[in-house]
Structures are given as structure tokens and as C-alpha cells.
Amino acid sequence: MIVIISDDKKENIGKSLYQYYKGKSQEEEVEFVSASGLDIKPCYGCEGCTYKTYGECVFRDDMDSIVPLLMEGDTIIYTSPMVWGGFSACIKRIVDKMSLTGYRFYNYKNGELVKGTISKMTKIVGIAESDKTTENERLSFENLLKEIGNIIDVKHLGRVVASSYASTDVEKLALEVAEL
């Protein structure tokens, strides 16, 4: 299952990708989450999800309906406007709660410690949409996805698209995701 989590009041690429996947195949299971305007509280770093209510956030908000999708999706795609080389605050609040689907222990990979995930996720993708992006912002965004992917030990991709993207760009992105 592909899960697209989109800050869709500030970008369109999330919806375009969703429509592309829906149009391409009836068999492909795709879920679209409009994150704009959802009530997602900040992660307070309280460790309640580890030591009080294991695996569950102690605060009730709209994450309760998103986490089941994050657990079941094998490809998780976050789409966001480009904000100084990172995600928008709206998307980052969801990303910050990744420990809810995270492995609590440590593994060894390529000489470093990694954590992993307890979900079905095998790919994490971030797509930032922007009118004008500097080279530094593009590199920052791509590296962010690389670091997140490394820590949870899944395949990863960070891409930046112009707001004036064409349908061929959407297709190209979907192909890159498929080939990960």
C-alpha cells in the first residue's frame, strides 16, 4: 500500500501523485491523507510512548487515524512545500512522531548504529514543491530524507519539484519511487 501524506493546502504534487496512482492501476492500493488543518499536537519528547503506553502516544489527536496507515503502508510519501530545505511544520509534526512506528532497539549497519521500524514500511519518500529552490535547499532536503531513511533502515528518496511541474514529472517521480 502506498500512503501519501500531503500538506495539500500549500502544494499540489501530493494530489497529482495520488491521481496518477489511482489512474494507473485499480489494483494498487493508495491512501491519501490531507494533513493541512489536521489537529496534530507537537511531540513533547515525554517518552510516554515508550515507558507509559508502549507504542501509543499519550496525547489524543488526529495522529490516531494516521498511525494505522503508517503501520500498514509499504511506501510512505510525504509531500510538502519546500521550507528552507525541509518539510513544512504541518508535515514535520507528523514526521516527529515516527517513534510510534519505530523499532526501540539498535542494529548495526555499515559501521553505524541504526534503529529500524516495526511497520511494513520499506520505502520513505519526501517530495518538496517550490517556485524557486536554491541548490543548498535541494541538497538539504535530499540529505534529510537520506538521514531519515538510514536511521529507520529503509529505502529513501528526497526530491524537489517546481510548482509548474508537468504530468510527465509526476510520472517520472512515480517511476523513481517504484525503482527504489
Binding site: G45, T53, E56, G86, V95, R104, F105, Y106, G111, E147
Partner: protein
């Protein structure tokens, strides 16, 4: 010079808060005008915090690394600073990010975020510092961090750069970072895992239980 130090962590007694106090104490002892704040005290309304930023000459942001960058509300703070007329007027900007993983590259995005922010706003980015292993401290004094012999002087040197309003290079934190040999890491992973499992067992936590979200 007037400095504002903002703790970007939601935890009032964690490592970022300890560092905020550590920075403030060192800067105060140099007879500087230093104000320290916690971002999460101002989440509902940032106006008072923005006024403090407006009247400062140098902004120091200290925060934890949440999934490889500063927490989400740092972006809200930066956006508010950017959108409010006159808040930014050429101040110096310094960033400090600390996280659990011992590697600087894991957390470095926080510094890139501030750098990119400064490229687009009337503020001058003068350097950042990345400290791995910070979460283990859990608010304890900086001197207790692993590799303190190199880390503490490097953090002090970073604070000196802030006091002197100088640029601080990445080499400062990269040279201070712990270099853990691969064979040690290979041993460390199962040892740390065993310790966590031991704590879970002691606290009666069933870590094999199905996610409550399923």
C-alpha cells in the same frame, strides 16, 4: 550586545534546556545582556517572544534533533520571525542541535535549515554546532557527556565565537565528535539493545505486543 537564547525543546528540564543555562551562564560571566527563553512557553502566541528577538543583536537557537532535524515548531518560530515586519534586522544567528545518535551527520539538517533560512531573511548565519549523544545526558551537566574531554572545550569555543560575534566553522564540532570504530559499534548495538530490554522487563513493558494502532 544583547543576546537571546531560545530553547527549542518541549522538555523544560532536558539536555537543550541544560545547554541553554550553560550558554547563558558563560555569556553572563562576560558581562553580556543575555535573555533565555523556552519556545514552548510561547506556542499559543509568539508576540512576546518575537519582541524579545526584535530587540536582540544575536539569536542563539538550541534544540534537540527530532527525526534528524529540529522539532516541527522550530519551523513555526522561524516562519513567525520571517513574516513579522521588523523582527529580523541583520542580527547574528547561531544554532546548536543535539541528538541521541552519536553521529553529526544524523542531526546536521538542523544547521542547514538555519543556514537556508538566513539566506532568505535579513539575518546573518554565523555558525552551528552539532552534538551527538546529547539525549543520553537527559539534562545532566555537559561535563557528563561521552567524550567530554574534547566536547566541552569545543562547546566553550563555540560560545566564545558567539560572545565575540565571530563565525564558527563546522570543523569545530566535527573535530569534537566521537569517532566510534566499526567493531565497537558492532558490539555496542546488542549491548544497548539488551540494556533497553532489561529496563522494559523491569518496568513490566511487553515490547512484543501488537501496536495499539492496529
Amino acid at each position: 550586545m544583547k543576546y537571546i537564547i531560545i530553547n527549542l525543546s518541549p522538555r523544560p528540564k532536558g539536555t537543550s534546556s541544560m545547554l541553554k543555562d550553560y550558554f547563558a551562564q558563560k555569556m553572563h560571566s562576560n558581562a553580556n545582556d543575555v535573555e533565555k527563553c523556552n519556545l514552548y512557553d510561547y506556542l499559543k502566541s509568539m508576540n512576546v517572544l518575537l519582541d524579545k528577538v526584535k530587540t536582540s543583536d544575536s539569536i542563539v537557537l538550541i534544540g534537540p534533533s527530532y527525526v534528524c532535524s529540529y522539532p516541527a515548531d522550530t519551523i513555526n518560530l522561524l516562519s513567525s520571525m520571517s513574516e513579522s515586519a521588523g523582527v529580523l534586522h541583520g542580527q547574528s544567528l547561531y544554532g546548536f542541535i543535539q541528538g541521541g545518535m552519536p553521529y553529526t551527520h544524523t542531526h546536521e539538517h538542523g544547521i542547514r535549515l538555519l543556514e537556508n533560512f538566513a539566506e532568505n531573511n535579513p539575518v546573518e548565519f554565523k555558525g552551528g554546532f552539532v552534538m551527538g549523544g546529547g539525549a543520553v545526558l537527559n539534562g545532566q551537566p555537559l561535563e557528563k557527556i561521552m567524550g567530554a574531554k574534547k566536547m566541552v572545550p569545543a562547546v566553550n569555543a563555540f560560545i566564545d565565537h558567539i560572545i565575540k560575534d565571530e563565525h564558527s566553522s563546522e570543523a569545530l564540532y566535527k573535530n569534537a565528535a566521537m569517532k566510534i570504530p566499526s567493531f565497537i559499534t558492532r558490539i555496542l548495538a546488542p549491548v544497548m539493545t539488551r540494556q533497553i530490554k532489561k529496563r522494559f522487563a523491569a518496568e513490566g513493558i511487553n515490547y512484543n505486543a501488537k501496536s495499539p494502532y492496529l
